[in-house]
Structures are given as structure tokens and as C-alpha cells.
Amino acid sequence: MIGAAFFVGAALASLDRAGGICHRPSQGPARATALLGRTIKQRGAVVDFISILSIFVLACFVGYYVVWSVTPALHTPLMAVTNAISSVIIVGALIASAAAAVPGAKWLGLAAVVLASINIFGGFAVTERMLAMYKKKERPVKPAAPEAGK
């Protein structure tokens, strides 16, 4: 629940960065730039940095609470799936390989796409395979009879 509350904050910050909400119309970008030139640009970069830093910090809190709620029996699948999702770095690899301007960067990007894909497909598949093995005790045929102790 706390996690959800945190995330709203992160969501708002992200929307905001995208220019979705709460602008001060008096400080339109064009006018500001014209007036203050590069200083504003620097300041904008700082504000931008702070806003993504807030997302990061809040997401760390979300991670903290979510991971503590993971049952220890599933710690190995947890590592496998975190492995798979940390390969979201493929986004950077795709951007690098999409741009043709610098061939060196493009080939590095493609190599990174291969590596990240191994991880994404391998990570999710092996997690799926592991999770499919976790089974409950097969209860005897009569579901009506309550089990002692459990």
C-alpha cells in the first residue's frame, strides 16, 4: 500500500517531466531561453535530473517493500526474474543500434541487443520453468474433510 502511494508520486513526476501537467504559463520555454540562454538550459537539466532522481528514490522504496514480501522459498526465481527485467537495458541497446550515424556505436548496440535478448528470453523462460515446479500438496480426494493442523 505504501508502495502504491510512493508510486503515485513517481508517476506524477514523470508525467510532469513529459510536460503533461502543471506548467507555469508565464515562464514559457521560448521566452525563458531567450532571456537567460544557457543558464536556463543548465537549470532545466538540473530540474530534469532531480525529477528522475525522485522516481529512482521512490522506486527504491517500492523495491524495498516488494522484495521483503517475497517468500524465501522463491528467492531463486526472484533472482532469475530480476535478471530478466534488468535486461530492460535493451532499450538503450536498441537506441544505439537504431542510429546509423556512428557505425561503431551501432554495432556495439547490436551486440548489446543480442546479450540483453539472451537474458530476457532465458531469464523469463527459466523463471517460468522453475515456478511451474512449485506445487502444493495433493490433497486426498475428499475436499470436505478438513486437514488436521493446516
Binding site: G9, R17, A18, P29, A32, I40, K41, A45, V47, I50, S51, I52, L53, S54, F56, V62, G63, V66, V67, S69, P72, A73, L74, T76, P77, L78, M79, V81, N83, I85, S86, V88, I89, V91, G92, A93, L94, I95, A98, A99, A101, G104, A105, K106, L108, G109, L110, A112, L115, A116, S117, I118, N119, I120, F121, G122, A125, T127, M130, Y134
Partner: protein
């Protein structure tokens, strides 16, 4: 709360990252999917759904990126994904469950290397990443993020390669101690930090210009290697979790460079996940994270291998003896350890448990958090052998039950059962939480030989107790023997 953390956004538009709000939203949705993926793991029932969320999130992130960028060669990209995907799927299908720690270490190394490659690509072609400032130089903030991302990625890569080699047995699990290693490590780490600062402040920030970046990445590769070689096999659960954490921080740093919510959220999730797992593992060994990282544990363990001389009497038993005792028992608690994984004895063990249940014996499993080579290692192996997860208990949930149990059946575990951890203040494992197997009426201790002490290099008092029967054999052979004798 949320209002307080959002700074003044009046002039955001002046920065280089002019983002379409829908794209930002799509990455946010991907990030949320990843949160659900981890949330699902709170119990085995919901876990499969969680994994699907993870896949969906990844698909959203990839498709969004492909749709919103001008792509020079989509064919090459699709081929790259197909190659990687095939390798990944085949590996995931073929890998033995006992090899899971190696596989995870190998996967970590790939994330690390991918992060380095992306960092270098961003350095060579900053324009594509939108981090080129007005003066033709890469923005200073982006230079720091890029350097950190590439450095953490490089540490993750070389560290994971060493961890993989040690876990895979291609390299001795024994710690390799270089003289003055702490000084070397600190110097290299300091060097990386100084270089990052210099790189950020240097005037020459043009694409691919500064040699500082290359030196920095090279140093990071070296430190990953240096950090892991002095760490012994028993500390691998901590190392694997720690590298898991690093791979997350590397992704997060790249997310900062790209101002990408999905990457930042994921990086934070994975980073904290690995950090928490490392913490749990350290606590389960009663050791500080620093002492684990400093390495060398188990290196001073006296005579290794079969050279240990034992002049105290112990009771040895056969498979038939064990079968007889267990048949008479009302309750048996099985304590698996790394030895079970090595011998691949989990299937035979479950057969034994089934036979015992036919004889009306209650069977439970007790798992120590650091049993095996990675967090949750034993649980996966038991699940593989079709042991229902509601028969498998964690240390704190079952420890009080040993006092009522007739038999504790220890298979391939050692240090995690050593009563010296509770009583002997001079023992290196003193204070470590252990399973109270010594409180059971009878302890059956399945071990390869009386020689080699546990990984901590400590002799286990339990072997010589009156109520302990040593079953000396390969774990699988012995359990198979017991199964036969139970018929």
C-alpha cells in the same frame, strides 16, 4: 507526500529530452509491470501471473522503443533479438536445476556487459541518446551517469564471470588472496571515482574524445575481478546476490542517461532486491557484508580434504539401519544442503519421503537460508523433485519442532547444523543461526566422508554425539539404499 517531492517544473522543456507524454507513460506502465512481476513472488500461486506481467512489461518497453525511434536497420535488430532469444530459450530449457547458481551468475555477466556496451555506444554517439549539449559536448550530468553505468556494468561483468567459474567448478572455490589486496582494491575504487569526476569536469567532452572514459572502464573490469577472487565458495550466495544488485544499479544508471522511467524503476527494483538478498544471506551467516566482501573466509581452515585426523569415536550406520530407525519414527525432519545438490539426490530423497509417508511417518523439510549456493537453491531443487512446497519450512518456522522430532535427517549440510554456533565463542561460525538438529532424538548425518570439514573449516561436534549416526556415502547412493531397505 507526492506534491512535496516534485520540484518546480516550469522550464523543463528547455532540456534536450523533449519526450512525447505517451511514450513516457508507456515506459511507466512497463515499470509498473515489473513491480507486479516481483510482487507476484510473494507466494507460489501468484508467482506465475507475476512472471507474465514481467514479460508484458518487457514487451511494452521494447515495442515502445522501436516504434518511437527512427530505425536505420530494423532487420539487423530483429536478427540480433532472434539470435539472443534462441540462445536464451535453449539454455533455459536445457539447464539442470542444480546448475541454477552458475546460470544466474552467467546471466548477470551478460547484463553487465550489455550495460558497458550501451555506455560505450552512448559515449561514441551521444546524439542518438539525446545527451549532447549545445556546445557539442556531452552534458556533464550525462557524463557522470554514463561513466557510472559503464563502470558498474564492467564490475558486474568481470565479477560475475569469476563467480560463474567458481560456481561451475571451472575454477577452485578456494579464496585466492593477493598480498595487499585491500590496498589495491581501495586504490582502484578510488581511481574510478576520481576518473569519473575528471571525466565529468574535463573540457573535452565531445563524442568518443576523452581517454579518461576508457581508462575508467578498464579499471572497472579489473576491480570486478579483484573483488571476487578472494571470496570463497561458501560466501557465493552473498556474491551472487550482490552482483544481482549491481546489475540493477547499472541498468538504473543507464536509465538516468536515457531519462527512461522503465529502466530507472527496474534498476531500483533489482538493485534493492539484490541488496536485500545479500543482507538476508549475511545475517543468516552472522557476518557483516564488509567481512564477506573482504573475502578470505575459510582460507585458514587448517588441513583440507581427507587429511583431517579424527581420534574420537563415532557411530556409523548403514542404509538398512537408517531405514529401520526411520520406519519406527513418528516424525522425520529432512535438512538438505549443498551436498544434496552435488549428488543430485533430490529425486531419491522425495522417493524416500514418499515411502516413509506410506509407513505413516510425518515428513518435513527444513531449509537454512544459506543452504546451497544461492538464495532459495534448496527450495528449487525440492520443487523440481515434486516435493510440495507446503512441506518445506524456513529456519525460524521449523526450528522449534526439532525438539519433538524423532529423527533429523541431514543430507549434504554441515555448518548450518553445527551446535558450536550456539555454544562455542571461539568458533568462527559463533552466532550464526543454525538448525537445532541436535535436539532431535536421533540425528542421521549423511556425509561423503568423515574427512573434509564444512566450508567454514570447522569441525562439527554433532558427529560425535551419542544420538548421532553417521551415514558415510554418496548422498544419492545412500538414499537409494534406504529406499530399497524401506520396501
Amino acid at each position: 507526500m507526492s506534491a512535496a517531492v516534485i520540484p518546480d517544473m516550469g522550464i523543463v522543456e528547455t532540456t534536450v529530452h523533449a519526450v512525447n507524454p505517451w511514450v513516457a507513460l508507456a515506459y511507466l506502465v512497463a515499470g509498473i509491470c515489473f513491480i507486479f512481476a516481483l510482487r507476484g513472488l510473494s507466494n507460489p500461486e501468484s508467482s506465475r501471473k507475476g512472471n507474465r506481467f514481467g514479460m508484458a512489461g518487457m514487451a511494452i518497453a521494447v515495442v515502445t522503443t522501436l516504434v518511437t525511434h527512427e530505425i536505420a536497420g530494423i532487420v539487423e535488430i530483429l536478427i540480433a533479438i532472434a539470435i539472443g532469444g534462441t540462445i536464451g530459450l535453449v539454455t533455459a530449457r536445457r539447464i539442470a536445476m542444480t546448475a541454477m547458481p552458475q546460470l544466474v551468475a552467467a546471466f548477470h555477466s551478460l547484463v553487465g556487459l550489455a550495460a558497458v556496451l550501451v555506455g560505450v555506444a552512448a559515449f561514441l554517439n551521444p546524439e542518438a541518446f539525446g545527451i549532447l549539449g549545445g556546445d557539442g559536448n556531452i552534458l556533464a550530468v550525462s557524463r557522470i551517469e554514463m561513466a557510472l553505468g559503464a563502470a558498474i556494468g564492467a564490475i558486474t561483468f568481470s565479477g560475475s564471470v569469476i563467480a560463474f567459474l567458481k560456481l561451475n567448478g571451472s575454477m577452485s572455490g578456494a579464496p585466492i588472496l593477493l598480498p595487499a589486496r585491500h590496498v589495491i582494491n581501495l586504490a582502484v575504487l578510488g581511481g574510478i571515482i576520481v576518473l569519473t569526476a575528471l571525466f565529468a569536469m574535463s573540457g573535452a567532452g565531445g563524442p568518443g574524445e576523452s581517454p579518461l572514459f576508457w581508462i575508467l572502464v578498464a579499471l572497472a573490469f579489473a576491480i570486478g575481478f579483484l573483488l571476487i577472487i578472494p571470496i570463497g565458495g561458501a560466501d557465493m550466495p552473498v556474491v551472487v546476490s550482490m552482483l544481482n544488485s549491481y546489475s540493477g544499479w547499472a541498468a538504473a544508471a543507464m536509465g538516468f542517461t536515457l531519462h527512461n522511467t522503465a529502466m530507472i524503476v527496474t534498476g531500483a527494483l533489482v538493485g534493492s532486491s539484490g541488496a536485500i538478498l545479500s543482507y538476508i544471506m549475511c545475517k543468516a551467516m552472522n557476518r557483516s557484508f564488509i567481512s564477506v566482501i573482504a573475502g578470505g573466509f575459510g582460507a585458514v581452515a587448517g588441513p583440507e580434504g581427507g587429511a583431517v585426523k579424527i581420534d574420537r569415536p563415532w557411530k556409523a550406520g548403514s542404509a538398512e539401519d537408517a531405514a529401520f530407525l526411520m520406519k519406527q519414527a513418528e516424525s522425520v525432519i529432512i535438512v538438505p544442503g549443498y551436498g544434496m545438490a552435488v549428488a543430485q539426490a533430490q529425486h531419491a530423497l522425495r522417493e524416500m519421503a514418499d515411502k516413509l509417508k506410506e509407513h505413516g511417518v510425518s515428513v518435513k523439510y527444513a531449509i537454512h537460508p544459506v543452504a546451497g549456493r544461492m538464495p532459495g537453491h534448496m527450495n528449487v531443487l525440492l520443487a523440481e523433485a515434486n516435493v510440495p512446497y507446503d512441506e518445506v519450512f524456513e529456519l525460524e518456522d521449523i526450528n522449534s519442532e526439532f525438539a519433538q522430532a524423532d529423527i533429523a535427517f541431514v543430507i549434504g549440510a554441515n555448518d548450518v547444523t553445527n551446535p558450536a554456533a550456539k555454544t562455542d565463542k571461539t568458533s568462527p561460525i559463533y552466532g550464526m543461526p543454525v538448525l537445532d538438529v541436535d535436539k532431535a532424538k536421533t540425528v542421521l548425518f549423511l556425509k561423503r566422508s568423515m574427512g573434509g570439514a564444512g566450508y567454514a573449516g570447522v569441525e562439527n561436534e554433532l558427529f560425535f554425539r551419542d544420538n548421532t549416526m553417521m551415514l558415510l556415502a554418496d548422498a544419492k547412493k545412500m538414499v537409494d539404499g534406504i529406499v530399497k531397505a524401506l520396501d
